[in-house]
């Protein structure tokens, strides 16, 4: 039993650090650290740098251009990226649709879709949720009717993250309305430029345009865009949802955020003393710190189990719940650190080229929007209540 990295693992970490030191554009890292908006170009630029290094596809098999890294290497890489302020890789292409194509797709589909995903030439979005199908995803109604060599797709998807930039969308559609809920669903790839598709922005409570509604009005989709068998799309959907996600606990993000929070709390003054010396605030910082240690060790135990050949299953639900609650707690502390200056709302200041004066301390500008934005963590990717249902069923046998 040894909680320390091996010399090989430490050497790998050094290699990652050298890469991040030399290749991560400083202006992009600065935006991430200051909570400013990243443009589509920022994300694509970083992902292309990753691809040049051969480090874009952590979870793909090597033959398709994946890294072939062990779970511990993936963990180290993700931790270091968070520490350095690298943008999160957009998961929809490389980590979501691609593994499904690799597992269930035809040779033609692999050749057509995988290389542009690897090089971030195509921006993917996810067409799962619908207004009437959230946690109960299998209740989806968007239908695809086969007509010759096409499907005709009609319906609506929602919460489509960054769909405003997307070139393609992968969709769960109902191909057999008479079958039982899960059994009449298919997995379709749809070009967003196809006539009949309309994207409408949804503005969230923090004033952001991150998510969208996507409407399909008799959209013609070639039959060869079906992945896997018709009416077997639920298998693909489940595979995608349970696909190995070493980063689900968000340990790296939480560590970086806690470090920043401590810096802020040392600077902010209260009654002539740094806020970090306020007994109540310090107590909550200590609480977050110890919970983060517990999360990190639990995450490492899961990573090590995967390394030893175990398949991470419902355990990732534990990590999702613990990790998201902690990240939310940290945003709450940031809001409290800002005090009255958590109130001003200056969305123009979130742009990197903003040259106006901040109201109050600079860090305070984004604390409230971030706090409200991060409420999403316990809702998306299977709400934390759904995660508890999964654990109750899969681990506890209830």
């Amino acid at each position: 039993m040894d909680i320390n990295f091996t010399p090989e693992e430490l050497a790998f970490r050094d290699e990652v650090r050298v890469f991040l030191d030399t290749k991560l554009p400083k202006e992009i890292a600065s935006k991430v650290k200051n909570g400013q908006h990243l443009s589509k170009d920022d994300t694509v630029r970083w992902q292309k740098i990753l691809n040049e290094q051969g480090w874009m596809a952590l979870h793909w098999p090597k033959e398709h251009g994946g890294t072939g890294w062990s779970p511990i290497q993936k963990h180290i890489f993700e931790e270091e990226c968070a520490e350095y302020g690298a943008p999160s890789v957009l998961p929809f292409g490389v980590n979501m649709v691609a593994p499904v194509i690799i597992k269930f797709g035809t040779e033609e589909q692999k050749q057509k879709y995988l290389p542009p995903i690897l090089n971030s030439d195509v921006w993917w979005c996810q067409g799962y949720s619908e207004p009437g199908a959230g946690s109960d995803l299998a209740g989806l109604k968007t239908k695809a009717v086969r007509e010759g060599d096409h499907y005709v797709v009609t319906g609506q998807k929602t919460w489509t993250t960054l769909g405003q930039h997307a070139d393609w969308i992968f969709c769960l559609v109902r191909t057999d309305p008479s079958a039982k809920k899960q059994e009449g669903i298919s997995f379709l790839l749809i070009d967003m430029k196809t006539p009949g598709i309309t994207v409408r922005p949804l503005i969230t409570l923090d004033g952001e345009h991150e998510v969208n509604e996507v409407f399909f009005d008799e959209v013609k989709v070639p039959v060869e865009n079906l992945v896997g068998e018709e009416n077997k799309g639920w298998t693909c959907a489940k595979y995608l949802l349970t696909f190995e996600r070493t980063g689900i606990a968000g340990v790296g993000q939480s560590k970086a955020a806690l470090k920043h929070l401590k810096e802020v709390a040392r600077k902010v003054q209260q009654n002539g003393k740094p806020l970090i010396d306020d007994p109540l605030f310090r107590n909550r910082l200590a609480d977050v710190e110890m919970e983060l240690m517990a999360l990190e060790m639990t995450n490492l135990r899961t990573v090590a189990a995967a390394q030893a050949g175990g398949v991470p299953g419902a355990e990732s639900s534990f990590l999702k719940i613990m990790g998201t609650e902690l990240r939310q707690e940290i945003t709450d502390l940031f809001r409290r650190a800002a005090g009255p200056y958590a109130q001003p709302f200056l969305p123009e200041s979130f742009e990197a080229d903003y040259d106006g004066e901040p109201v109050g301390p600079e860090f305070a500008n984004t604390v409230s929007t971030k706090y409200f934005n991060m409420r999403k963590l316990s809702i998306f990717g299977g709400s934390n209540e759904i995660q508890k249902n999964i654990i109750a069923k899969m681990i506890l046998g209830l």
Binding site: M1, R282, A286, L300, F318
Partner: protein
């Protein structure tokens, strides 16, 4: 990074596991708990025969040369069985302190006797006014002839009622909470000037209030320099308590899960109700955190002093926090049955909660952690 047990550690785990499974069913434990001694002297001899009393000591004394991970494995197994015997008091707290401070002759005599099962000890460190602060020592010792004469009061000395000898912390210098001037002594528990008031604790163990009035004492190590060794033994004790709590929490979770699958109300097993399912999930989540932090602390005892102190404090604090949740939920989900003395889970709940009252509680360790907040610590 590797969380697997070594072959030796796995053997230790199996030894303890078998002992607890075969030798420690609930009714046998109840019989020992309600006996005059409060535990089983025969069981103690079995510990000796199986080599468990030598785990942290060198092979020279018939020991196992184990560290944090080995004690974790043993204590977790003991936690699963709610073991009553004075392992923590004798081996982990007193034994390792003697091992750190004692002369070769003292170790030869005392450690060999511990390993052989012939000597039971208790650590008399904390005082009535000192709560969880081990530096708050008012007891004093002064030179007297070849040895020392010790005077003072010690509070809630775990297994102090039945110990043969006591390891006592007293001042030979300084005052208040000074770290310098603390010395460790061996005192015969039945010597003149030692009076003990023994009692049962709410979780079924035994303890004592002990008064020393010019009791004859034998110095361990250098005069006034016991603090580092004391803190090392306390850290080891905390690891053992965390592991014991983890073992007990695991059983509390298992028993609760079994109960809600079996107990029928409204025509179905109550485990079908989502309100209870989610609470059960939360219990398991707390257990995982507790286990993670126990491993973390157990593997950190050789880290730089402040890093070690930070992790150990965090582990004990998490155990206090998570343990309370698991204990309370275990009782709640058992309903009225959870309130019964005859129900095993009630005894697990009591031990888990009372572990928070030994070697520093949640509040105490949160304060330690707060004072170490600036210590930069990259796990792994």
């Amino acid at each position: 990074m590797d969380f697997k047990l070594s072959d030796e550690q796995r053997m230790l785990e199996e030894t303890v596991g078998r002992l607890v499974r075969d030798g420690y069913p609930f009714d046998v434990r109840e019989k020992a708990r309600t006996s005059e001694l409060g535990y089983s002297a025969e069981m103690w001899q079995q510990f000796a025969e199986l080599g468990l009393l030598g785990v942290p000591f060198s092979e020279d004394f018939g020991g196992f040369n184990g560290g944090g991970p080995e004690l974790m494995v043993v204590a977790e197994g003991f936690g699963r069985g709610l073991v009553l015997e004075p392992y923590l008091a004798t081996v982990v707290l007193s034994g390792t302190l003697i091992n750190s401070l004692g002369s070769d002759a003292q170790k030869e005599k005392l450690i060999s006797a511990i390993v052989g099962g012939e000597l039971r000890l208790a650590l008399a460190a904390y005082e009535p006014e000192g709560r969880y602060d081990h530096t708050h020592v008012a007891a004093t010792a002064e030179k007297s002839g070849d040895g020392y004469s010790l005077t003072g009061n010690k509070a809630v000395v775990l297994h102090g009622d039945s110990a043969d000898q006591l390891v006592v912390i007293a001042r030979t210098g300084g005052n208040g909470t000074d770290r310098d001037g603390l010395s460790a002594f061996i005192v015969d528990a039945n010597a003149d000037g030692v009076s003990r008031r023994g009692y049962e604790t709410i979780d079924g163990l035994r303890a004592a209030e002990i008064t020393f009035n010019k009791a004859a004492a034998e110095l361990l190590g250098e005069e006034g320099k016991a603090i580092d060794a004391l803190e090392a033994s306390l850290a080891l004790g905390i690891v053992a308590l965390c592991a014991e709590a983890t073992g007990a929490m695991e059983v509390a979770c298992d028993q609760t899960l079994a109960y809600i699958k079996e107990r029928q109300q409204f025509g179905v097993a109550i485990g079908k109700f989502q309100a209870l399912q989610h609470r059960m999930v939360e219990m398991r989540m707390e257990l995982e955190k507790a286990r993670s932090m126990t491993i973390f602390a157990a593997c950190s005892l050789d880290a730089p002093a402040q890093v070690c102190a930070k992790r150990v404090a965090a582990a004990k604090a998490i155990i206090g926090k998570s343990g309370r949740k698991v204990a309370e939920e275990a009782i709640q989900l058992h309903g009225g049955m959870g309130m019964m003395e005859e129900t095993a889970v009630a005894h697990y709940a009591k031990r888990i909660v009372l572990i928070d009252h030994q070697l520093g509680d949640l509040g105490y360790h949160m304060q330690q952690l707060e004072s170490l907040l600036d210590v930069d610590d990259d796990a792994a």
